[in-house]
Amino acid sequence: MNRTSAPPVVIEVNDLVTHYGPRQILNGVSVDIVEGEIMVIMGGSGSGKSTLLRHLMALQRPTSGTIRILGQDVWRLPAKKLFELRKKLGVTFQGGALFSSMTVGENIMLPLFEHTKLDRKTMEIMARMKLEVVDLAGFEDLMPSELSGGMIKRAAVARAVVMDPRILFFDEPSAGLDPVVSSQLDDLILRLRDAMGMTICVVTHELESVFKIADRVTVLDRGDILFVGTVQELRDHPGERIQNLLNRRSEEAEIDADEYLRRLTGDKEEAEGMPR
């Protein structure tokens, strides 16, 4: 992507530290996402990428650090402003998270129903339009349980974009899908960015999709940022860990005799920093 004109930053994460209980998950992460780009956050399991995503969506309060979305510090906003802000975000969760008690159409209409005063006919038309975008025309009366995994994901995309959000998040879009379907989903992501001009943030560990869709990549490793840059920079990166990740080499755990002994003897206090 051509970034010479420096488009505005839409998400600004500064020195983010988070914990689950006593365990520190993110150790001071800072990252910017600029308007109109597809930013992919990648990393092995346990690297903290899903946690970072939850923070980017303002679902979880950090221990310290700030998150600014569209110029607003999300945890300093009054509740009402946060609601307004959330209407500008769309999310496709890993399992789709469609409401199982509603039809596909009702799922897609829910944000419209809750946030707008449109009449039902208009909402139905808008829902059908979004279903067309994700190639699911005619499926609005089915229940989510009657759809396949790939269709559920696409329906979830339709729901996420029904309010025409400024920023769209994807959590592991290719998880549990076969390569063909997941490649279709990648095409859909590219199409959404090009057609609607959204900023898109994708969390994934699928290298193929990373190379296909990403403008820039953030690599997380054990709660730290290892790399932020374009796909080309990622490919050319000399760092060993990055190359390991790209070439799918498993990393040899550094052997620390003391640490190993402590883990075996089960001394919890000391083993806190063990690799996850």
Binding site: A58, L59, A97, F99, M163, K268
Partner: protein
């Protein structure tokens, strides 16, 4: 703390007692917060263009209340008849079978009507509420709501609370009437007291206060069922097994809460 394996049993015992007391208190605190939050959305939601949908409340009332009518009717009738049978049996000792109406009327209206309704609704709806919310949490549907700018408490919890608080007293009233009717039928057969005479006696025996005692208590039961059901659902973690555990926990807690509250209510109301 787990540092020293030699720590003596007494310390460990008190450690455990302390921890579970704190956990219990914490949970009670959560109930309070949930109730406050629900009230907040009920009152301030419309001003924030996040109103509680009447449609959702009615749908819940249908599920919690109307669909429970057959089973509650059957149970209430059985309890009413049982009270009459036992009443006549025990009063026979004094040769005072005719006085059976006193016992049946008081116990059905003040005690058994609300109690059986509360327990059945807890089993039907308290557990269902936990299972539903727990599954939604695991499927990230609650997160999805939150991200869409739809508060889950406003959208899912308040309708359930309103539904149980309205429907449990209504069902309790129904079970009082049906229980008394079933008792009347039995008394009619066993002692030859006519239905009209039975009704006459019931009206003479009971005061409005007795009925209010039963109905008021049921409203409280309704609130407890919804709060416990919802909170157990929200606290689910760990997949399908977690949902199962939450459901069981929810029923056990609901019924215990109902029985204890019933006793306290009776104590305070008769002081």
């Amino acid at each position: 703390m787990s540092e020293s394996p030699k720590q003596n049993a007494t310390v460990r015992f008190f450690d455990r007692v302390g921890r579970s007391s704190v956990a219990g208190l914490e949970e009670m605190g959560r109930h309070g917060v949930l109730m406050a939050e629900s009230l907040y959305w009920l009152v301030y939601g419309p001003g924030m263009s996040q109103p509680v949908r009447l449609g959702a409340v009615f749908a819940e009332m249908m599920e919690v209340g109307v669909r429970a009518i057959p089973i509650i009717a059957m149970m209430a009738a059985a309890i009413g008849a049982m009270l009459a049978i036992q009443g006549i049996y025990s009063l026979k000792v004094f040769g005072a079978e005719g006085q059976v109406v006193y016992g049946v009327a008081f116990s059905m209206v003040r005690e058994f009507g609300p109690l059986i309704t509360g327990i059945l609704v807890a089993g039907r709806s308290g557990s269902a509420l936990s299972a539903r919310l727990g599954t939604m949490k695991i499927n990230q549907e609650l997160d999805a709501l939150e991200v869409m700018g739809i508060n889950p408490v406003r959208f899912l919890v308040v309708p359930s609370i309103l539904a149980t608080v309205i429907m449990v007293p209504a069902l309790a009233f129904m079970s009082m009437v049906l229980g008394l009717y079933a008792a009347a039928l039995y008394v009619n057969v066993a002692l030859g007291i006519s239905l009209a005479a039975f009704l006459d006696q019931v009206v003479a025996v009971l005061s409005v206060g007795d009925v209010l005692h039963g109905v008021g208590k049921s409203a409280l039961f309704g609130l407890l069922i919804a709060l416990i059901g919802v909170l157990n659902g929200f606290m689910v973690s760990g997949g399908a097994e977690g949902v199962g555990k939450a459901t069981t926990r929810s029923v056990v807690q609901c019924i215990s809460a109902i029985v204890v509250t019933d006793m306290l209510f009776a104590l305070l109301a008769t002081l």
